[in-house]
Structure formats: structure tokens, C-alpha cells
Amino acid sequence: MSDFLASVDRRAFKQAVFAVRDDESALDIVQDAMMRLAEKYPDRPAAELPLLFQRILQNAIRDHFRRQKVRSTWTTLLSNLGLGGEDDADPLETLEVDEASNIPSSPAEQLEQSQVMAAIEEAVQGLPGRQREAFMLRYWEELDVSETAKVMGCSEGSVKTHCSRATHALAKVLRSKGITL
């Protein structure tokens, strides 16, 4: 279990960051997913852990969005009623801050390779949620179509469609930036 978690934690973190666009929330999501796996499935064979963990992780990401939606509904309600404080964050403002936080800042990111990497990550982050999820699971986590469909809770046909659209969208964005893989 320990080896498995050590082998997936960074990828899981990046996946969560791509989805929620916030390091803190992504860390919480990954921690939550690892806790759930360790608590609920301690006796599962090692071969089953990747699929289980991906299911838990994707559910944790969806839970995060659900909670965020509920929170924003209440925030909107309260601000409409005039009960919200003046410093309540506008979702659009938060979005702008999140985007700004993705600007490469470390010295390593100034290298050409890092720039390509950043461009790729930005392109991945820009994909629609389901397309990104399918792409990540299929090509990064190397799940097959059937396993990806199980994790995403959709048909295998949908997985193929999402993956195809994601690859075309990514290729187009990268080509427009002069990046060829």
C-alpha cells in the first residue's frame, strides 16, 4: 500500500490541480483519496489498487465541485439578501487569481523544456472536465477503455469520444504554440 501511494501521489496531485486549479484544494483531495483507499480497501490485491484509487480520486474531485457549487449557491443567496460581507469573493475574481497563479515563476520553468511542459499542462487544464478525465485516465494512468469507463461511470463509446476530442483539442492548441511532440 505504501509503495503504491508513493508511486501515484504526485500524478494524483497533478490530476487534481488540472481539475480544480488550486494547489491547496488538490492536496486536500489527494489526501482524502489516499485515506479512503487505506481505510476502506486495505485487503485488496495490489493489482486492484490503481483502478480503485482512480475511482476514489475522481469521486473526490466531483465531491469538491459539488461542495463548491453548494457554497457558491449559498454565497449568492446571502449576498442577494445583503447578508454577505463586503469581502466575499466574486467567483470570477477567484478564477482570475487562479489563472495568475499558473504563471511559471520558478527558475526551472524558465528553461525551454519547462516552457513546453507548462504549455502542455496549460492545454490539458484547458480541456473540458470529462475530456481531460478520460485523457488522463487512458494515457497517463494507462487504464484501458473499459477500466476508464468504469472509473468515469460512462460507456466505453463515450470514453473513446472524449479521448478523441481531447487529443484533437490538445494537438490543435500545441500546434498553435509551435509545439510538436
Binding site: R10, M35, A38, K40, D43, S106, S114, Y139, W140, T167
Partner: protein
């Protein structure tokens, strides 16, 4: 480009991105991993039947055969107790009926019963 080829070419770049996670995030991830391992209890197996983990019964995973084997001793014990109790009840009832002369007259017409009554009781 074939989506599979494209995906395969993206993977090393994504791996590099994951490897380049900042120091602070890496430390947080390690700490999260350790917390998860604190919650993890190595399953204890005994003769392939018993699995004890984290004290939560709902996480126990048994095959059908294992479930049957788990309940077999209890079923056997109950069966033995039931048979013994039925035997004792039959003899007790018969003794009581003999003593109180409540046996139906037809019982004495039964050849086997009469021969059984004639036998010395051990």
C-alpha cells in the same frame, strides 16, 4: 495523428510535470501518505478464513466458500443440539405417558411397541 500515439507522446511530459512538483507540495503529499498509512491496518489472515482490519466489519471480504466454512461449525453445533434435544424429548414424553397411563389403547396393539415394552430397559 492516432490518439494513442499522441497520448503516448504526452505521457513523458506529464510525468516530468509530476516529478517537478514543488518542495512544499511534495512534503504535504508525503505527510498525507503517512497519515493514510496510519489509517491502514495490514489485514490479518488465519487459515485463509479470518480477515481482521481496522476493526470495521463492513470491510471484510470473504468468498462464498469461506462464508460457508465460517458458519459450518455453528450449523453443526446447532444440528447436534437439536437432535439430542429431540431424542430426549421423545423418551421423556413416552415415559410420562406410560406413568400416567395416557397412552392410547392402539399403542398396546402395536406388536413392535409391545415387544419394546417387554425388553429390559438399560
Amino acid at each position: 495523428m492516432n490518439p494513442n500515439d499522441f497520448g503516448n507522446k504526452m505521457k513523458p511530459w506529464l510525468d516530468r510535470g509530476a516529478a517537478a512538483v514543488g518542495e512544499m507540495q511534495a512534503t504535504r503529499l508525503k505527510s498525507a501518505r503517512l497519515r493514510a498509512m496510519d489509517a491502514y491496518r495490514e489485514p490479518v489472515r488465519w487459515l485463509g478464513l479470518v480477515t481482521i482490519n481496522a476493526g470495521t466489519a463492513q470491510t471484510l471480504q470473504y468468498s462464498v466458500v469461506q462464508r460457508v466454512l465460517l458458519f459450518l461449525p455453528i450449523v453443526a453445533l446447532l444440528a447436534v443440539l437439536a437432535i439430542k434435544s429431540a431424542d430426549e424429548m421423545d423418551l421423556g414424553e413416552l415415559d410420562a405417558q406410560l406413568l400416567t397411563q395416557e397412552l392410547p389403547p392402539d399403542a398396546f396393539l402395536d406388536q413392535d411397541f409391545r415387544s419394546w415394552l417387554g425388553k429390559p430397559q438399560g
